[in-house]
């Protein structure tokens, strides 16, 4: 794909992260201020994992964070005078790492959502 498209997606994912990661961080760190209880307690984690809204947010956050982070890492490595072949190898590794993170992350979110725990 053209660099212009990959880069646009990087910037777009950054904007989405601002919102989704914003929500995530507010929930995780401002629990005392916002009286959400203890956000990191087993029961709160479970409640969120079981809710559809949070499941959707986490799937999107996972997708955009993985793309954004890995595209960023790829461009940083590209700025180190690699050969064309070297750049090919880096892109390949980045895609494999990304796919692994997406599959494993999605698996965690979905099993968490489906699990019949109480």
């Amino acid at each position: 794909m053209k660099e212009s498209k990959l880069w646009s997606l990087h910037i777009f994912s950054g904007a989405i992260l601002l919102i989704l990661l914003g929500i995530h961080m507010v929930i995780m760190h401002f629990d005392k201020i916002l009286h959400l209880g203890d956000s990191l307690a087993w029961q709160s984690v479970l409640t969120r994992m079981q809710s559809t809204a949070h499941t959707v947010i986490y799937l999107l956050l996972l997708l955009f964070a993985v793309y954004h982070g890995l595209y960023g890492v790829r461009s940083l490595i590209f700025e180190l005078n690699l050969s064309k072949k070297g750049r090919g190898v880096v892109s390949f590794i980045v895609v494999i790492v990304g796919l692994f993170a997406l599959i494993y992350g999605a698996y965690t979110i979905i099993t968490g959502h489906m699990a019949k725990l109480s």
Binding site: S4, K5, S8, F78, E79, N81
Partner: protein, 283 residues
């Protein structure tokens, strides 16, 4: 006679300044600083200081300069850790008794203060820095391209570039990524593409829409900070990104409908309010 003039000229000097110059023989050995005491007179530039050293203290010192008036782009150097034109930098303005001069960073060095600018020129050429046409103008079109003031202003400041390469010396991305197209060439890619007489946007896009092209700019802005001609390459780069993204995502091409004014008028009509030419003063 000339010598006497020189002596009297430096008799009235304002102060002595130490020029600490990084020397390199060009033969692969190590670099070392050498110090020279230069008597500074009013209005003296760093380049004139270097000329003084070469004429009076050490004729083995090498640098590159030509016009001495900030227009040829030859004399870029790293003066007190900032890339500047030596001929455009007043010694007194530096406000320092020691002036450290090194060759421009981000270039291979040929000797002493002489950088190898081949890469800069290659990058500049790669973006086709001239008006490109699909038709065969000017062979086929009899007329002149009309351009309004606003259309001119879209690119005018970028035409002030003198290819000194100082922006590449300042660029933190070029510092690690040698093959990054760089601010000079990218600014020119924009300058020509946005010119209403040009039709070469697609060709230039091919050159810069790649993993080491325009999208490697992180907008540090150092190029614009350093440019001695007041060009704002960083602005051109962001506008170029915008034009390319618009094209590649939404298919909105940067095309111009060039207006052509015919030159050959059958009966050119003179306006009434134009006064007659003055009488000839020379036969």
């Amino acid at each position: 006679m000339a010598e006497k003039n020189l002596e009297s000229k430096f008799e009235t000097h304002l102060k002595d300044v130490t020029f600490k110059v990084l020397r390199y023989s060009g033969e692969g050995d190590s670099t070392k600083f050498e110090e020279y005491k230069v008597p500074v007179i009013g209005g003296m530039t760093v380049l004139e200081g270097l000329i003084y050293i070469k004429e009076n203290l050490d004729n083995t010192l090498s640098w590159r300069a030509s016009c001495r008036m900030g227009i040829c782009g030859s004399c870029g150097m790293f003066i007190n850790n900032f890339p500047m034109l030596a001929c455009q930098t007043q010694i007194m303005d530096l406000n320092s008794d020691v002036i450290e001069i090194k060759p421009m960073p981000n270039y291979p060095i040929i000797k002493d203060l002489v950088p190898d600018l081949t890469k800069l020129i290659e990058k500049h050429k790669s973006i086709k820095p001239y008006i490109l046409r699909n038709d065969n103008a000017p062979e086929e079109i009899e007329g002149e391209f009309y351009q309004g003031v606003e259309e001119l202003e879209r690119y005018e400041q970028f035409t002030f570039c003198i290819k000194c390469g100082i922006c590449l010396a300042a660029c933190p991305t070029v510092a690690t990524a040698e093959e990054f197209t760089g601010p000079q060439a990218l600014a020119q890619a924009y300058r020509y593409s946005v010119d209403t007489r040009d039709q070469g946007f697609d060709e230039r896009k091919e050159v810069v829409d790649n993993p080491l092209g325009v999208f490697r700019c992180h907008f540090a802005g150092s190029c614009s900070e350093a440019c001695p001609k007041g060009v704002d390459p960083a602005l051109a780069i962001q506008l170029l990104k915008k034009a390319i993204v618009k094209d590649s995502l939404f298919g909105k091409k940067l095309v111009h409908d060039t207006k052509i004014l015919p030159i050959k008028q059958e009966n050119p009509k003179k306006k009434d309010n134009i006064p007659p030419a003055p009488p000839k003063s020379v036969e």
